[in-house]
Symmetry: C2
Subunit: 308 residues, 2 copies
């Protein structure tokens, strides 16, 4: 039996999935991400883990990787959390396993591919995905392939500028990026600042630093302050959806990441904001939640091999 | 000798170019766009014009078309100025000429392909083009192919919402679209309204309705009001460039259309506005003027055949 190996490299752990050539996940496990010496042992440890798990490399048709940073043609331009700079991952891993069929993509792009392969956008041709976590990532898939971008920044939707009145500094250097508002970090900060202003009622008092989850739960239960925060999040995400739709006009926009667990309560608000933009074709784009959760990266990594 | 025919259909005229298979333009001419009976005679008249010009159809390897409206898989969804709705142009023309190698794209997308083929973005892999005319069109080219979009709205950059404080109604139904500010129409309206306000000095008085060209010329000569208008145009275009760059991260953004004849005076201002957005990869995107002028559509139409 032939296999595809899909690997999702994160700052904390490396998720490894063994797929059959139809893309069905047969086994999965994870190892810790060894960040020593700028991540120079990671490829070797993945290789050793495959051997340790008795994967017969002769039966592996190809390997896919998602990595946390921009990628161009198999080379990781930078993965700050790991310490890789201009790192030719495809070449290095190819030599270790003796197989040149190695594909590498940015983690957010690869997660989007996963949702196309086996998730919320299954069978769709053109999609966008927005991943709402500590930061905000994004991926654009056209005809089953992700848009890498000339400098590896295709789909970097977290840095769309959406706030002009009271823009906050973003890590990227710009002011008012989507990430400053709609990431878990942004939601918590907005809540804390609006709480100080005393303008909105809330029953979430004296809870120290609130989590995005607590704020969503309170919003669902009618908390005024929490709803104000979430409405601003929904406005910003609706605007981002409109923007993406005018550039690449996808059939569906998928929301993933921890914050998206708020589910339909959030998606309904985003759809309402999105519907305020009237350009005819854009109105037809669907907004849905991701389905594969933390496995999306592995599935997408496998898809790069299956769809090469 | 083998030929490619590149055809650019506009609301007033149809431009027809005869190219060799390397994409060198050998002959070109135009015919009037016959809009009678919802444009039902246009294909036939193009066919007859080719015969009239003694083009040996047996030597034509393929035909490309740019049309003023959204296109999906060879079908024109709508071309309001002509009267086409759900019009299978590729099929109809294929039958007339007895050749199934017919490619159809939206005019702005096709113009962008032309600039990639033989113009300002020659040899570039990923580009965006923004066409500043009476309205604003756009095209996104990735790996030499335009992003059509699921509903034919890929690259509809004129409808990015860029104005929030004093947004104007756009024809699309939204408020504050790029087109309401940076099209020739938008520039003239902005000038007229700001002139009424009396807030800015101008030596362009009593000239009736001013043209975009007159406003640019006056701005270059230091006119305060004209510069205020152009600075707003540049801000909006800089914002749009940054937005497009985060979605598809092109190597170059090409400005075409009548308003872009303002040249470096305008491009320098756009670059300055664009440089205010700090996300690293985006900063590397170049902003340049188009090179092919009104021929871009014919070249792009030919490119669809050459690059199929």
């Amino acid at each position: 039996m032939n296999y595809i190996v899909g690997i999702d490299i994160g700052g904390t752990s490396v998720k490894i999935g063994l797929f059959d050539t139809n893309g069905d996940l047969k086994r999965k496990w994870s190892i810790l991400t060894n960040k020593e010496d700028n991540g120079k042992y990671i490829m070797k440890e993945i290789y050793q883990s495959l051997l340790h798990k008795k994967v017969n490399l002769k039966n592996v048709v190809g390997y896919g990787f998602g990595v946390p940073g921009p990628v161009v043609s198999g080379t990781v331009l930078q993965a700050v959390n790991i310490g890789w700079y201009d790192y030719d991952l495809a070449l290095e891993f190819s030599q270790l396993v003796g197989n040149s069929n190695v594909h590498v993509g940015n983690d957010a792009n690869v997660a989007a591919l996963g949702e196309v392969f086996k998730g919320a956008a299954k069978g769709k041709k053109d999609i966008a995905m927005i991943t709402l976590g500590t930061g905000i990532g994004g991926g654009i898939i056209i005809d089953g392939h992700s848009i890498e971008g000339v400098f590896g920044a295709g789909g970097e939707l977290g840095h769309i500028v959406v706030e002009f009145e009271r823009p906050r500094q973003c890590n990227c250097g710009s002011l008012g990026c989507l990430e400053t508002i709609a990431s878990a970090t942004g939601i918590k900060r907005e809540f804390t600042e609006l709480a100080k202003s005393g303008m909105y009622k809330t029953f979430l008092k004296n809870i120290g630093e609130p989590s995005a989850k607590k704020i969503f739960d309170a919003a669902i239960r009618g908390d005024e302050l929490s709803n104000e925060v979430i409405n601003r999040v929904a406005y910003a995400l609706g605007y981002a959806c409109h923007m993406v739709s005018l550039v690449v006009n996808p059939e569906v926009i998928v929301f993933g990441g921890g914050v998206s667990r708020a589910g339909e309560f959030l998606f309904e608000k985003i759809r309402k904001e999105f519907s305020k933009y009237k350009f005819y074709a854009v109105q037809k784009t669907q907004i849905v939640g991701a389905e594969l959760g933390n496995d999306a990266g592995m599935f997408g990594a496998a898809y790069m091999v299956a769809n090469a």
